[in-house]
Amino acid sequence: MTLVVDHLYKRFGHVVALDDLAFEVAPGQVFGFLGANGAGKTTTMRITLGVLEPDAGQVTWRGIESHRLPRSTWGYLPEERGLYPRMRVMDQLVFFAGLHGVPASRARREATAWLRRFRADDLADRKAEQLSKGNQQKIQFIAAVLHDPQVLLMDEPFTGLDPVNVMLLREAFLELRDRGRTVVFSTHQMEVAEALCESVAIVDRGRMVVGGTLRDVRRASGRRLVRISVAADHRLPWLSAVAGARIIQAGVERSSVELDPGTEPEDVLAAAVNAGARVLHFEVADPTLEQIFIDHVGRTPDEDMRLAPAGVDGGVEPQAEDAA
């Protein structure tokens, strides 16, 4: 009764896209598929849809190989969004739902309902080329769910959305999950995954790095986090007495202290009390997904979206080598 990604291999020429990728998604969950660009997320989704063939391995849903299932099992939101530019929104929605076997009258009714839910009733008669990017994305999402698929595969659904639309889409995800649908989405934004997912899989260069329920993944890291707030000196000079503890985020209000495995939160508290600091707030927290990602992959998930460090001579060299 699960979606099983069963040891997939896939090469494109010399590039290894998937290298023994394996994980499972329990039905009725929101599942986060995490990785940087080029990690193999899109390739995995395309194989699941039956559009691409793996070199080895398979994807099954409820025990059946994915490409043997009706295509309407899946609702797909591609990373590269696209609609027919000259076609009216409602016509497109009815067309795509029709390809999945939904009669036109029902498709029209449900599309109208979804447009209303997204507060976008006025878009129905517009042509796609007249829509903003955010609105096009809403339409694509509706196109992916109109036939009420059992599994939703969403490739970077939150990219390029403004905060309001991110909230709308999140709510839609949770609602679909509550109706028993399985939602798999890929992202490189760890906060989003943290807020939405029951389970995650972190992939890097086509390999599974770590996966499982969000709680297990956090626990398995062995790291813990202490958030502490003290009166007076917020630089926490007494912390140097605690082995295996370091500040990862210093703040006047609150600082985050990371603990290596073996170091207990109580040690930090005891050191603070011994030093005579007045503790205003003390909280034991799990590490962030971002931290776990860095631990496992060795870099941030959106590293390629940040400027590389400047060269030693301070000049910005457009052709500077990779400062790894």
Binding site: R46, P70, R71, P78, G82, L83, F95, G98, G101, E110
Partner: protein
């Protein structure tokens, strides 16, 4: 979701039971394509343009008659004795220049001049100084023989008229020169000959000129069919390719290919755009046929009834129309499949220009032998070209328009075409399946081969 959709966890999928196949999806794709094309501005403009062009072409026979009417044909008459020549001239002048109820008496159809030397007349005809020379001889039975020399300056209609005139001269000669009872009337001999080929030779008799008129009509019908086929196949083939490229470039492809299979998408696209093409061809052909049909009647009304001019539609038989439809449909399927496969290998609309020319070369290579066939050519190359699937839609159509095609030739050409279409379509689907998800690859032979290998 506020729509009345409860959330049964184990609800069966709403789609068709099979992930592949499903004619329904191909129909949906075809319908979408058809509506999009037929509603487009390019469709409207090109339809109006082509329809106008076809009407003009179909009115050419009428135009020829009009021009012909205004032309004065100069003919010199040579007879054994001046009296006979003078009598023949006045008779033909009376008969031919007042021919027809509404004929315009102001501009004569013919002017006749008497000449005594046959050799001089022949020279005049060769030089093009006169349209023809009528040589009159009296046979041993007392009847007259007419030989008309012409090097093409005489239209079939006019040659036909001269025969009528000769007949009248013969009757008057018979009644005037002797009592009607002494010897029976002999129908005057009449022949048209080209002095450049052989004096008095050739068999382009009166019957031959009617054939020529029908031949001209068949040629016009053939030209309309071949040009229309050629333009439509290349134009709509490009539309198929650009449609595929647009779906790729606009990234709708990802959604499409996850919702429908490659065969559904390819077949749907070919059928949808093909039907749009057929719609346009009908919109172009029907007014042209109506014009062709009407031009005969208009001509009779304006120019007076003319037995020789009623053959505008002679070249168009129901069989030829059926052949046109069959070759059009199969030829379109073949070219559209090629264009669909090629389009799927491109990523951007600009790349289409790179492949547009190489793709139209096979069509152009078929167009030339078709034109040759239309002008009466029947070489071995034309014959072979009319069996080759990529060319037969043009060449065999041209040969059928002109006539003289063995049934087995049609069967062979259609058979080869019918076998090639599904094979090429399967190949196109294969290329398409691999190609639609390839982005940024240059449109080269290597890309193509890799796509076919999958």
């Amino acid at each position: 979701m506020s729509a009345p959709t409860p959330a049964p966890v184990d609800r069966p999928p709403v789609g068709r039971t099979a992930g592949s196949g499903g004619v329904g999806n191909a129909v949906l794709v075809a319908r979408r394509e058809y509506i999009e094309r037929v509603r487009s501005r390019a469709f409207l403009f090109s339809t109006v343009l082509l329809a106008g062009l076809a009407i003009v072409v179909s009115l050419i026979p009428l135009g020829v008659r009009l021009v012909d009417r205004a032309t004065v044909t100069r003919v010199v008459v040579v007879a054994p004795d001046p009296a006979l020549a003078q009598r023949a001239i006045s008779t033909m002048d009376t008969f031919l220049n007042t021919n027809g109820a509404t004929a315009d008496k102001g501009t004569p159809t013919f002017t006749f001049e008497r000449l005594d030397d046959a050799g001089a007349a022949r020279a005049l005809v060769r030089d093009g100084a006169v349209a023809g020379a009528m040589l009159i001889d009296r046979g041993s039975d007392g009847g007259l023989d007419f030989t008309v020399l012409s090097v093409g300056g005489l239209s079939p209609d006019r040659a036909q008229l001269l025969q009528v005139g000769a007949f009248a001269v013969g009757i008057l000669d018979w009644t005037a020169s002797q009592p009607p009872s002494t010897s029976p009337f002999v129908i005057p001999g009449f022949e048209v000959s080209d002095p450049n080929i052989a004096v008095g030779g050739g068999d382009a008799t009166g019957g031959g000129t009617i054939d020529a008129a029908e031949y001209a009509s068949r040629r016009i019908v053939g030209i309309v069919f071949v040009v229309l086929s050629f333009l439509t196949l290349v134009f709509y083939g490009l539309w198929v390719a650009s449609g595929v490229v647009a779906e790729k470039a606009g990234r709708v492809m990802e959604l499409l290919i996850s919702a429908a299979t490659a065969p559904q998408l390819v077949v749907g696209k070919i059928v949808g755009i093909g039907l749009a093409g057929l719609t346009q061809v009908s919109l172009v052909l029907l007014p042209a046929l109506a014009a062709l049909f009407a031009s005969g009647a208009i001509g009779d009304q304006v120019l007076g009834p003319d037995a020789n001019a009623g053959t505008s539609l002679a070249g168009l038989s129901p069989g030829l129309l059926a052949a046109f439809l069959v070759y059009f449909v199969l030829g379109f399927a073949l070219y559209a499949a090629l264009y669909a496969g090629a389009g799927s290998l491109l990523s951007r609309a600009e790349d289409l220009q790179i492949v547009a020319l190489p793709l139209s070369i096979p069509a152009i290579m078929g167009y030339f032998p078709a034109v040759l066939a239309l002008s009466g050519g029947a070489s071995g190359f034309i014959r072979v070209a009319s069996y080759v699937p990529l060319w037969s839609p043009f060449v065999m159509l041209a040969r059928l328009s002109i006539g003289r095609v063995e049934p087995w030739e049609v069967a062979l050409s259609l058979g080869l075409l019918a076998v090639t279409v599904p094979l090429v379509t399967l190949l196109a689907i294969r290329v398409y399946r691999a190609g639609v998800l390839l982005y940024g690859q240059p449109p080269t032979i290597r890309t193509f081969l890799r796509a076919v290998r999958g």
